[in-house]
Amino acid sequence: MLKTLVSGDTPRSPILLATLIVILICLAFAPFLFPGVRSVDTAARICIFIVLVASYDLLLGYGGIVSFAHTMFFGLGAYGVALASTHMGRGFDALLVGSVAGAGLAALLALVIGLFSLRVRAIFFAMITLAVASAVAVLVSQLSTLTGGEDGLSFKIPRALGPAFKFMDGELFGVKANGKLLKYYLVFISCFVLFLLMLRVVNSPFGRVLQAIRENDFRAEAIGYRVVHYRVAATCLSAAIAALAGALYAVWLRYVGPDTTLSMEIMIDILLMVVIGGMGTMYGAVIGATLFVLAQNYLQNVLSLAGESVSTLPLLPDLLNADRWLLWLGVLFILSVYFFPTGIVGRLRGK
């Protein structure tokens, strides 16, 4: 039963299994285990980034395709929900319409980009996505009448997901039984389902063909698989799932803006999460996203402490400044591509 749930792709490492179970339990009961606005917010971010990173891994780790437009698809979903909620009024129908439209548009755009660039040479894809994504980011900040420009859009989500809504009297295990709790579980369950769905996809024959193409596209073509079709299909699927993750993020924040969804920084974050967690395995996304979001929220404090402790030395305090943590992540990133190309999960599995 459990094996069917994870599509036969078991962690295959006791430490990994234990870590995954701890993460699952922590996320599933986050509002009860870690009450407090900031920690629940962190938990929701982890859920959403797991899905986003896993969808990127579908492309990078399984398809061997590098894309820099993943935040664009993420943003499409988020803006879809925001625009639908703004124009249709608050309600679950607006959320549904917005996320479906966002995912559809993302898949369509991915189809067009994929047909253009993957047909010729896979390496074009990385460059073209970079160009298109930045053009879209500029366009979004310029079309301020529609998208709110740099300020972004704040919108209302259904009343049932707001803190004012009580679905039962009193408290549930010491936590207020309000719409905020429902909203967390909407995010958590959607992410859980999407993750299992992706696990299903990569362990299906389709996923196997993708892996074959990654290993040797020439040979895969010779065996009779249309490489371009598979690559484009993977791109579309991953774009649609990224858009759904974006829709969830928009619902959680009740806000979209270029900085939260479209910026290049998020793209780099996603790359770091995939590589550090482990490319080519969905569990890598879980580990990578969890570690990264936790580090983002808490490691910066540690770094600033370290910076203060060496404040008398030259240059070191600047290097250890909390704002410079991306520097250390970049170094870690390069080292992990060289020495641990399979990431943490690959290490744990003993590959």
Binding site: V66, V120, I128, A135, L271, L315, D323, L326, V331
Partner: protein, 343 residues
Amino acid sequence: MTAAPKHAPTMAQMSLPERLAPYAPILLVVGLVIAGFVAIPATSSWLTLTVSGLAMGMMIFIMASGLTLVFGLMDVINFGHGAFVSVGAFVGVSFLLLLEHMTGAPNLLWNLTALMVAIIGAMAATGLMGYAFERVIVKPVYGHHLKQILVTMGGLIVVEQLIIVLWGPEEIYITRPESLKGAITFAGAALEKYRLVAVGIGLVVFLAMRYTLRRTKIGLIVRAGVENGEMVQALGYNLRMVFIGVFVAGSALAGLGGVLWGLYQEVITAHMGNQTMILVFIVVIIGGLGSVEGCFIGALMVGLLQNYVAFLEPKAALISNIALMVAILMWRPMGMIPVVKAK
């Protein structure tokens, strides 16, 4: 059984389109300039826009040429190329700020000397950095595109952050040397002096590069290496050494482009390199990976189109470049002048 067809050789001149086909890319640039002339109402503003488009194109070409050669020669795609642009700009601007007494004086010779010092300093710094980058970051991942993209992107992040550590997180505003400020009036159009200088430098770089590639032995080896690397190595040339040389030269050119771009924008940030990389990638793709001429023509087209469209419809400027790329790829899927055979 049918008889063999009668042997009937014919001799006909190639039709005009057939004879023009090899020159199609350069004719496109001319066509673009003419289209701009038709679309833009005032001749003087057309002239101004054309000069600034050419200046922008030249600067993009200087930045992109190294990237395209590096790819052509060694099949290495360097996503960290923008780091050299940023470093070049910061080093160059630091030199200019040091030589403030020279740039502030209203003396053309002094100004140009200061500019040259800044350019040479920046090129030396980025050339050295290119050497280190090649040794440390690119060398371990030859022949592996995926890892190259990831690792060079990582290198870009690290270099950007190091720039912030060394020069601080704020953007630096700079003024151009005294005698390069302002504009000259020609046929009723205001032409910024600095842009004319940029066009001049770009032309010199292009011609020097073309000369090196076409007329010297090292250029012959580089071109042959792009065409068929294994064969060149079989003939006894150490292509690795040639490649390091090209990588260093390409990095130095990116540094030069960074100085020029920084003075053009009059503000520099650590992320400026990565921002210009968007245009650089478009240029490299539409020119055809590995082709210097294609890169030059592509850069001019991007620069001109961007300026014309920004004048006619400001919001469509960046989209116009994407549209240009799409159109060119539909016409020639490998870029305008495809050099590198599919590897």
